[in-house]
């Protein structure tokens, strides 16, 4: 047993989060802020550029360029055949990220090459993110990477500059929240539905100030890509950090990936990683438990991820909101979304379907969507896009013929990037148009000014494209 792990036993039972946190705390102040070592910094074309420019202004070097990785994802076009310059509004960002990354010796993954992709797809895919490592990126969905048992969280551009200059970051230690899911998942219900259900139950700020650990038999049964989806929406619960304890599935996922340890080092790493899961008697500041067997496909109706219901439920009535503030909020949200209280969501006509984003753009997501689409046609009047999460995902999907399944059905099959999830690259849902999206935020204007977003799983989004309206995907089950 290594020194770190034995220390934990000596100090009593600890949670996964506490183990990884204390393994990175270089020093701690009297007001509970720790100087954390950062093992991996991920840079994208918005915050990554901001941070690199901040360093340049101050003439500071990057302390460990070999521990930083960059890729342009937000402001690049996803049109077939694009380059980093295709979207004029992002061309300077692409060029700046490339030039500065290369000048500093930071590994840069350009469009069209293996390694390129949405930064939170790229990190796990290349084995850059590992159990027990600390990972930051100037992007709130960095919590995605916690699915591998990493302490991964989003930071601002100034904090990122601090990380690049010092390989450390001052952070206040959060409290711990364990969410335990037990039970099987119904057919047509995915990790996306699970986490939307959770946010609906606890609210969009329940996780604020907490690091979340997802545990229980349901989570153990999720493959790594599904765990990435689960952790991705931690920030929509308010939590900067969401983690799943590493297990054999994690180690099998990582083995052989480009930046994962190899040979003897891999064995040594696995030995250490096995010490990370929360101890049986570990204390959590808050615990929540859910039986998953009755969870249905979920879909949002409003402008916060907590505005979510089961697909067969009716849209809530502001008159029955728990307090006056939420009454106003729900009314405003329904007004923006063009929906009436008491309506069924099912049957609402849709204009757009977007399958992609750091939430749901991995191979298993595309397979799930394709299984609904296969042999069917996108409804008239619906524009439907599939934007794979990375160059690797795109090529893997093409090798399986998934691109053909989508294209034959009338979907557009595009190049990897964030695209319409964040609409930073000119790709927007038009004002007033209704979109079922596999993304993570249904905020006002998130997918474009006036766009109406319904968050859902890839299967549910695919089903909406086929039907031309919001539909319970279970009605479309093949066979």
């Amino acid at each position: 047993m290594n020194k770190q792990a034995s220390q934990h036993l000596a100090n009593g039972p600890a949670t996964l989060f506490e183990k990884v946190w204390s393994a990175h705390a270089i020093t701690t102040t009297d007001d509970a802020r720790s100087l954390l070592h950062v093992d991996r910094a991920l840079l994208h074309d918005l915050s990554g550029n901001n941070a690199l420019n901040a360093l340049a202004e101050r003439g500071l070097p990057i302390r460990h360029p070999e521990l930083a990785f960059s890729t342009p994802d937000h402001a690049v076009s996803t049109a077939p055949g694009r380059t980093g310059e295709t979207y004029a509004g992002g061309a300077r960002l692409w060029a700046n990220l490339k030039v500065r990354s290369n000048a500093h010796g930071v590994r840069f993954f350009d469009t069209g090459t293996i390694g390129h992709g949405i930064v939170h797809v790229m990190g796990p895919e290349l084995g850059i993110v590992q159990p027990g490592s600390s990972v930051v990126c100037g992007d709130s969905h960095t919590c995605t990477n916690g699915a591998l048992g990493a302490l991964a969280f989003g930071i601002g551009a100034s904090e990122l500059a601090h990380v690049l200059a010092t390989q450390t970051l001052w952070q206040k230690k959060p409290k711990t929240l364990r969410v335990t899911f037990d039970g099987a998942l119904q057919s047509g219900v995915s990790a996306k539905d699970l986490v939307l259900f959770l946010i609906g139950e606890l609210g969009a700020r329940a996780g604020t100030g907490y690091a979340v650990e997802y545990a229980g038999s349901t989570v153990r049964g999720l493959d790594i890509e599904a765990r990435l989806t689960l952790c991705n929406l931690s920030i929509e619960l308010g939590a900067k950090v969401g983690m799943v304890a590493p297990d054999d599935a994690t180690y099998a996922y990582l083995e052989g990936r480009e930046f994962a340890p190899r040979g003897v080092l891999f064995d040594q790493a696995v030995k250490y990683w096995r010490t990370l899961p929360s101890d049986a008697q570990a204390h959590f500041d808050r615990e929540e438990r859910f039986d998953t067997t009755s969870i249905k496909p979920m879909m949002t109706w409003g402008t916060s991820p907590e505005h979510v219901i089961a697909i067969d439920a009716t849209i809530p009535d502001p008159a029955s909101a728990p307090d006056s503030r939420r009454r106003t909020e729900w009314r405003t949200a329904l007004d923006y979304m063009g929906l009436e209280p008491g309506q069924q969501l099912e049957g609402t006509p849709v204009d757009w379907v977007f399958i992609g984003s750091c939430t749901n753009s991995r191979l298993s997501d595309l397979r799930g969507a394709a299984s609904v689409v296969r042999g069917r046609r996108v409804a008239d009047g619906v524009r439907a896009w599939v934007v794979p999460g990375s160059e690797q995902v795109k090529r893997d999907a093409q090798a399986l013929g998934l691109d053909q399944v989508f294209k034959e059905a009338g979907f557009e099959w595009r190049e990897p990037g964030c695209s319409m999830c964040v609409a930073a690259n000119g790709e927007v849902v038009p004002p007033g148009a209704r979109s079922v999206s596999t993304t993570n935020r249904n905020f006002v204007g998130r997918q474009g000014p006036g766009a109406r977003t319904h968050l859902a799983s890839p299967q549910s989004a695919a089903a909406a494209a086929i039907t031309g309206s919001i539909v319970d995907v279970r009605r479309l089950a093949h066979g």
């Binding site: 802020r33 590994r107 601002g156 904090e159 010092t166 790493a269 909020e329």
Partner: protein, 207 residues
């Protein structure tokens, strides 16, 4: 970063919850504009109607609050995206302090990196100050005393000592951390033995 000691000004009551950073600043404004140019786009989703005209119902468009330097908000202000542009946009629009029941954590941290002052206060206290602001009171926030006062009320607020000092001194974290160089180097030397795979494979990958 400018030193912050006190802020005296008009407070605009924008008492909604979950004002996310997408709402504070649209992402494409950050690709189009430098940080000091973001002021006109701060909170545009709330300030403007879809046809581009000002929404007179929005408090920020009302004459009494156009020069607000303090924002009074509800719960979970600055949730969502980590974009630091949300802080830059508010500063560029003249906002120097946000008072809310709670904040999105990344936004909260970003505030301190730029001298925008976030204060957590109870819903009841915020309501009180919002009423006073509506009645035309100027609010005064004193960072040294850790108080917020209107013409008739005063309330204390809490803030981490280190963060308060940093705001008061206009200190930035990088300079401070670089002074811990020995500590960091020593930690890294030990970690290379403890977790060699964290350091080694990356070097191989680059080779």
């Amino acid at each position: 970063m400018d030193k912050v000691t006190s802020i005296v000004g008009i407070a605009a009551p924008l008492l909604r919850s979950n004002i996310d950073t997408d709402t504070v600043i649209r992402i494409e404004r950050l690709t189009e504009h430098a940080r000091h140019e973001l002021g006109p786009y701060a909170l545009e989703a709330l300030r403007f109607r879809q046809d581009g005209s000002e929404d007179p119902a929005c408090v920020l468009n009302q004459r009494a609050f156009r020069d607000a330097s303090i924002l009074l908000a509800g719960d979970n202000f600055g949730c969502g995206s980590s974009r630091e542009g949300a802080v830059w946009a508010l500063l560029a629009a003249g906002i120097r302090c946000v008072v809310a029941e709670s904040f999105g954590e990344i936004f909260y941290n970003n505030c301190f990196q730029n001298g925008l002052f976030p204060i957590r206060l109870s819903a009841e206290d915020i309501r009180t100050f919002a009423d006073h602001a509506q009645a035309g009171h100027i609010l005064e926030i004193d960072l040294r005393m850790q108080t917020i006062r209107s013409e008739t009320e005063v309330r204390p607020f809490a803030i981490d000592t280190n963060r308060r000092e940093a705001l008061l001194e206009g200190l930035d974290d990088i300079s401070r951390t670089l002074k811990s160089e020995d500590l960091i180097s020593q930690w890294q030397a030990e970690d290379r033995l403890r977790r060699p795979w964290v350091w080694e494979p990356v070097r191989l990958g680059l080779a």
